[in-house]
């Protein structure tokens, strides 16, 4: 079936986008039932990016949040549509780069998450230990001082990251890495929206983190940024990992429908069996 047309939205995209939006919402609700500490409300967006590229995923993300509003479940969700759109763009470029097709060795996944958690611990610690000087300027402590004062925190973070990468992420290291970075970018874009429109709270469990950062003396915008960079990367990492695992398990015939997946098809040796999960 050849559906390539002058516009970007051919019938395959038109059929996939509504399904992806519904997946975003259904999985988001499923996770709430399971009481997992993630939102996972962008799996459909990441999937569209992996299969059909950045622009179609951008539309999927933005329209997802508009649907949350139209359904009347969560009317203010429309404010975060730009964040969802950017997630789609990043997932699409990651898909073009073949991130969802390449398997990484488990030790590499371990090192990726280990280094990420180490950097995150450094960020959070320098944030919590920051002080204001006489002029009211924020003084960020020296990274070397932090490392020597509380080495345990950083060792624990690094080891936890190694374990997370080795046992949870396994072969999805490349997808997980993009997911972690995507989470940081999403946090940076959503922090101002959360701070100015929502006063920095969501009414959910992550508000405890915001309260903790506020207690350390940070402003509303800074607290939100810190909260986002702590919780968003793991949420996006999980979404990317799930999309990677599902694409690995998809039949060839289904993948053939989607140009992005087809372009990188050659990366997987034909003889290699599809890993089962």
């Amino acid at each position: 079936m050849n559906t390539t047309r002058r516009s970007g939205l051919n019938s395959t995209a038109l059929a996939l986008i509504p399904l992806a939006i519904a997946i975003n919402i259904a999985v988001g609700q499923l996770v709430a039932v399971l009481k997992l500490p993630v939102y996972l409300d962008s799996i459909g967006t990441v999937l569209t990016g992996a299969l059909l590229g950045p622009w179609i995923a951008m539309i999927t993300g933005a329209l997802s949040n508009i649907i949350w509003t139209l359904l009347g479940i969560n009317p203010p969700a429309i404010w975060f549509a730009p964040v969802a759109a950017v997630i789609g763009i990043i997932a699409g470029f990651a898909g073009r780069a073949g991130v969802f097709q390449r398997a990484s060795p488990r030790w590499l996944s371990a090192i990726i998450v280990g280094i990420f958690l180490f950097a995150l611990a450094l960020f959070v610690m320098s944030f919590v230990n920051s002080t204001t000087d006489a002029q009211g300027n924020l003084v960020i402590p020296n990274a070397a001082d932090l490392l020597s004062q509380q080495p345990i925190v950083f060792i624990v973070a690094f080891v936890a990251g190694l374990a997370l990468g080795y046992y949870v992420l396994q072969n999805a290291g490349y997808a997980g890495l993009v997911g972690l970075l995507n989470g940081v970018i999403a946090a940076i874009i959503s922090a101002p929206i959360a701070a100015y429109v929502f006063g920095g709270v969501t009414g959910g469990g992550t508000d405890a983190l915001v309260a903790a950062f506020r207690a350390s003396g940070a402003g509303i915008l800074a607290s939100n940024l810190a909260q986002g960079t702590v919780s968003d990367p793991f949420d996006k990492m999980t979404s990317y990992m799930l999309v990677y695992l599902i694409i690995q398990a998809l039949p060839r015939r289904v993948l053939q429908l989607f140009p992005n997946a087809r372009a990188t098809e050659q990366l997987r040796p034909a003889s290699e069996p599809v890993t089962s999960h």
Binding site: L9, A15, I43, G72, H277
Partner: protein, 255 residues
């Protein structure tokens, strides 16, 4: 189709969707631009009155409270009581000391959110989503975007039901959904069937679209008809002028 729409025959129900959309845009602009702290609350009162006249006051209040109560409580606790700005004015009240600026911030943010949510809810509860999308496509929204929105609204209940089915089926096969970080990997057998099922649908849906010449160029007819009147057209222009005037007024005030 799952949506916030509640069927009815009130004046608000009968208005052209674009008139209501322009009205909502005007109210939202006013919520965020009017300088008086009580303005959002007054506007919300007006919206509640309109909702009562349109016969949707019950669901209107219920959804607004369900969405905003947790946010409001968090706001007052975190930004209002516990961590107000350091230079805030103390406001002693019995054994605890409140801070004026913190409470004002929490109040302004939560009432703005309340009025914003109320505006959208009133629009959506009195307008059938298909009418709203059709009105927008008549004014230049790409019909593909309209199609995506309407289909998504239609298949969300199906997809949610399918997700519940998959969850129950996997649990009956002994899938652990409780305990440990590794249960994150338990999401694979839950999300996998959902996505694979959807992707298998894609081909069929795409063929259905092609066989109905959906992507063919040229004008299309619609089963829906919207009633528009001259007075509504004038009202829309006036409301758009009102938005422009509000923005201009605030810019002049800021200079």
């Amino acid at each position: 189709m799952q949506s916030a729409y509640i069927p009815g025959t009130s004046l608000l129900h009968r208005l052209h969707p674009l008139t209501k959309l322009a009205g909502a845009a005007l109210v939202i602009t006013a919520i965020y631009l009017l300088p008086w702290p009580l303005a959002p609350l007054v506007l919300f009162g007006g919206l509640l009155g309109l909702a009562y006249l349109s016969g949707v006051a019950g669901p209107f209040l219920r959804t607004a409270l369900r969405v905003l109560l947790p946010i409001t409580i968090s706001l007052f606790l975190i930004q209002g009581l516990l961590f107000p700005p350091p230079s805030a004015t103390p406001l002693p009240l019995g054994p605890i000391t409140l801070r004026r600026e913190g409470l004002v911030f929490a109040f302004v943010t939560s009432t703005r959110l309340l009025a914003f949510t109320g505006t959208l809810l009133l629009l959506l509860e009195t307008t059938h989503p298909a009418d709203l999308v059709f009105a927008l496509t008549q004014r230049g929204l790409p019909s593909s975007i309209g199609y995506i929105l309407l289909v998504a609204l239609q298949i969300v209940p199906n997809m949610t039901a399918r997700a519940t089915d998959v969850l129950e089926a996997q649990r009956s096969r002994g899938l652990e959904t409780q305990g440990g970080v590794r249960r994150v990997r338990a999401l694979v057998p839950l999300v996998g069937p959902l996505i694979v099922g959807a992707l298998v649908d894609v081909e069929e849906r795409a063929m259905a679209l092609e066989s109905r010449a959906y992507t063919a160029p040229g004008p299309k007819t619609s089963l829906r008809e919207l009633v528009d009147t001259f007075s509504q057209r004038v009202a829309r222009w006036l409301m758009l002028l009102g938005i422009a005037a509000l923005i201009a007024w605030r810019i002049v005030m800021a200079l």
